[in-house]
């Protein structure tokens, strides 16, 4: 194996990871900086974390962001799952190709356009911009991500399972909730997590569709950075990174555990 770890490979690995994580690492380190000046190291301190929690503006923004992310991810998951089911199930309706293209278009649509068009819509129907509008906007753009994730799972879903459920007396709705949903649940959950993360870090669409009293954390950070980066911002970002990292690790641990358990059960089955 020594040969595979040649100097070239190690260099490539280090460079690649450095490219990805050095900026983040710097940010994390500077969040523990004693100095008010972001670029000058003056010793280790957690004072910015303490002051962060007494910064009302940032805390409010964090709370708004959390609520927006939770509500929009949940609604987007329901809608996205429904769209995915419809697209995989009813393959024979007229205009299916157009419809599926339209569901996935927002994936590649520039955010500025999505944001602007939503803003125009809200203005046109006289919707006061605020918490509701940001949430609606986030549902709109994250729904298609959920649809993509769930659809890719549904493609490999054995349709005869649903038929078996109906054959045994379950109405289509009950067949969906008792058989299909439990089986595709991992995909639905990862769709939800994707939607949650997308909502959490969205700046552009939120800037277009938000209004007074509904400033999200990315908006708050952005506006503060324009006035000069404070170490507080570094602290907020470090916390955000921590949350996201924890989420990713938790999801993969759960997945891995399930896989290991399944393999053990299969071994037992063959032994018994």
């Amino acid at each position: 194996m020594a040969g595979t770890w040649g100097r070239f490979n190690i260099t490539a690995l280090v460079l690649g990871f450095a490219f990805l994580y050095l900026p983040i690492l710097l940010l994390v380190i500077y969040s523990f900086n004693e100095s008010r000046l972001v670029t000058v190291w003056a010793g280790f301190s957690t004072r910015w974390y303490v002051s962060l929690f007494s910064n009302r503006g940032l805390m409010d923004a964090a709370w708004v962001t959390a609520r927006v992310a939770f509500i929009s991810a949940t609604v987007a998951t329901v809608l996205g799952t429904m769209a995915a089911v419809a697209l995989t199930r009813y393959t024979r309706f007229r205009g299916r190709l157009l419809f599926s293209g339209m569901v996935f278009a927002p994936l590649v649509m520039p955010e500025v356009i999505t944001g602007l068009s939503l803003l125009l819509l809200f203005v046109a129907i006289g919707f006061d911009r605020g918490f509701m509008t940001v949430t609606l906007a986030h549902i709109t753009f994250s729904m298609c991500f959920v649809a993509v994730v769930v659809q890719s799972r549904l493609v490999s879903f054995d349709r005869s399972l649903e038929e078996a459920a109906m054959d045994l007396g379950a109405t289509p709705l009950r067949a969906f909730f008792q058989v299909t949903l439990p089986i595709i649940l991992p995909a639905v959950i990862s769709g939800w997590m994707l939607a949650f993360t997308l909502s959490l870090d969205d700046l552009v669409i939120a800037s277009f569709t938000s209004g007074p009293g509904a400033t999200t954390l990315p908006m708050k950070i952005y506006s503060q950075v324009r006035l000069g980066v404070t170490p507080e911002i570094n602290a907020v970002c470090t916390i955000l990174i921590g949350i996201v990292t924890l989420g990713v690790i938790a999801a993969s641990v759960v997945n891995k555990r399930r896989e290991v358990r399944r393999q053990r059960e299969e071994r037992l089955a063959f032994a018994g």
Partner: protein
């Protein structure tokens, strides 16, 4: 007339003009855009019958089954179950249950929960469900596996769970889509007999779809041979084998030698045929054709005999050269090449351990058959 085959059956409602069919397909057609899966098909299945739909893949047999289950709607025609028109009745309201080819076991539920699924849909009391599940597990001998998940079971065990689940609601009709297709040969043979016993003991009507003729012959009371969305023949296994209605059926079931020829004459139950090479055959079977018509004589290999000399009592005999010999243990198959190049297949039971002067490759040989061995097929 003596019955065909050696098995006498007392169960034959199809032969009774007063018997009412339990399932009835009336001029059923199913089209998938341009493709005609089932073509103007009519069929009657009787109560307590073990009925097999046999055909190659794409012949429409599965579509027929799925229409009965309610997953597909006929394009035209109607399906009656116990006198009730099934049009518009969704799958979850039909008194039939289906065992799927893939078994379609719910992977997130235990064996118990799989079996209980249908009963729960009917909101049966808990105690009754538990009792019924216990009965079903006993029936398929899976009691120790109640708490397992499907992926912890072997293929044979999964098949049993699927069977138990589809029987749990005590359906009037059980539909089985290639029920033994995923099992290995030995298990398949055992399971065939178990299915037959089960069907008999429970007094159910079974409709099974299969492409395996041996499976259909073993299990079914009657077989429908299907091709291109049509039923070519519906009969008992013995009738299908001994009196195929067409060349397709004759060729489809088992192996058979077919001689093309023209009808010379038919008198007193004796049909004379001159085949294309000029050989004359005398067959004790009706021809259903006029003299001069093109007819086909079909003879099963096991009804032919291969010998070095022409047997004096043989009513029909052809001379040729032993081309191939396949020794199968219980029998030997001889391929004899006639002088005009055609190959005729004969199989002989190896009733003796040793044969004096056994035939071998390239020996001249006579291939002979009695007058009542063959069937005459007209177009």
């Amino acid at each position: 007339m003596a019955s065909l085959g050696s098995i006498r059956r007392s169960f034959a409602p199809w032969a009774d003009p007063k018997a009412k069919p339990y399932i009835r397909f009336e001029n059923v057609t199913k089209r998938f855009s341009d493709f005609v899966a089932v073509d103007d098909l009519s069929l009657s299945i009787y109560e307590r019958e073990f009925f097999a739909l046999l055909g190659a893949s794409g012949c429409g047999k599965t579509t027929l089954l799925r229409m009965l289950a309610g997953f597909e709607q006929p394009t035209s025609g109607r399906i009656l179950l116990d006198g009730q028109d099934l049009r518009g009745v969704p799958p979850y309201r039909r008194p039939v249950n289906m065992m799927f080819q893939s078994y379609a076991l719910f992977p997130h539920m235990t064996v118990e929960a799989n079996i209980a699924f249908g009963l729960k849909q009917d909101r049966m009391p808990k105690a009754e469900i538990a009792e019924r599940v216990r009965q079903m597990l006993k029936l398929v001998k899976l009691e120790p596996f109640a708490k397992r998940k499907p992926h912890q079971l072997s293929g044979g065990q999964r098949q049993r769970v699927a069977l138990a689940r589809s029987l749990a609601k005590r359906p009037k009709v059980l539909l089985l889509d290639e029920p033994l297709g995923a099992l290995d040969k030995k298990l398949r043979e055992e399971t065939q007999f178990e299915l037959m016993d089960l069907q008999h003991d429970l007094g159910l009507t079974f409709v099974v779809v299969t492409h395996d003729q041996e499976e259909a012959m073993t299990m079914a009371d009657r077989i429908a041979i299907m091709d291109k969305g049509r039923v070519l023949q519906v009969a008992t296994p013995a009738e299908i084998y001994e009196a195929p209605a067409s060349r397709f059926v004759a060729d489809f079931i088992g192996s058979i030698n077919i001689f093309e020829g023209s009808l010379v004459k038919e008198s007193a139950g004796m049909t004379e045929i001159r085949d294309t090479s000029g050989a004359d055959f005398r067959v004790a079977a009706p021809a259903r054709a006029a003299p001069g018509d093109l007819v086909w004589l079909a003879i099963r290999p096991e009804k032919m005999r291969v010998s070095r000399e022409r047997p004096p009592e043989a009513e029909n005999a052809l001379n040729g050269e032993v081309w191939d010999i396949a020794y199968l243990g219980d029998m030997t198959i001889y391929n004899v090449k006639l002088d005009d190049g055609r190959i005729v297949k004969a199989s002989m039971i190896n009733s003796m351990r040793r044969l004096e002067d056994a035939l071998t490759w390239h020996d001249r040989a006579w291939i002979s058959f009695p007058a009542d061995a063959g069937v005459v097929l007209a177009e």
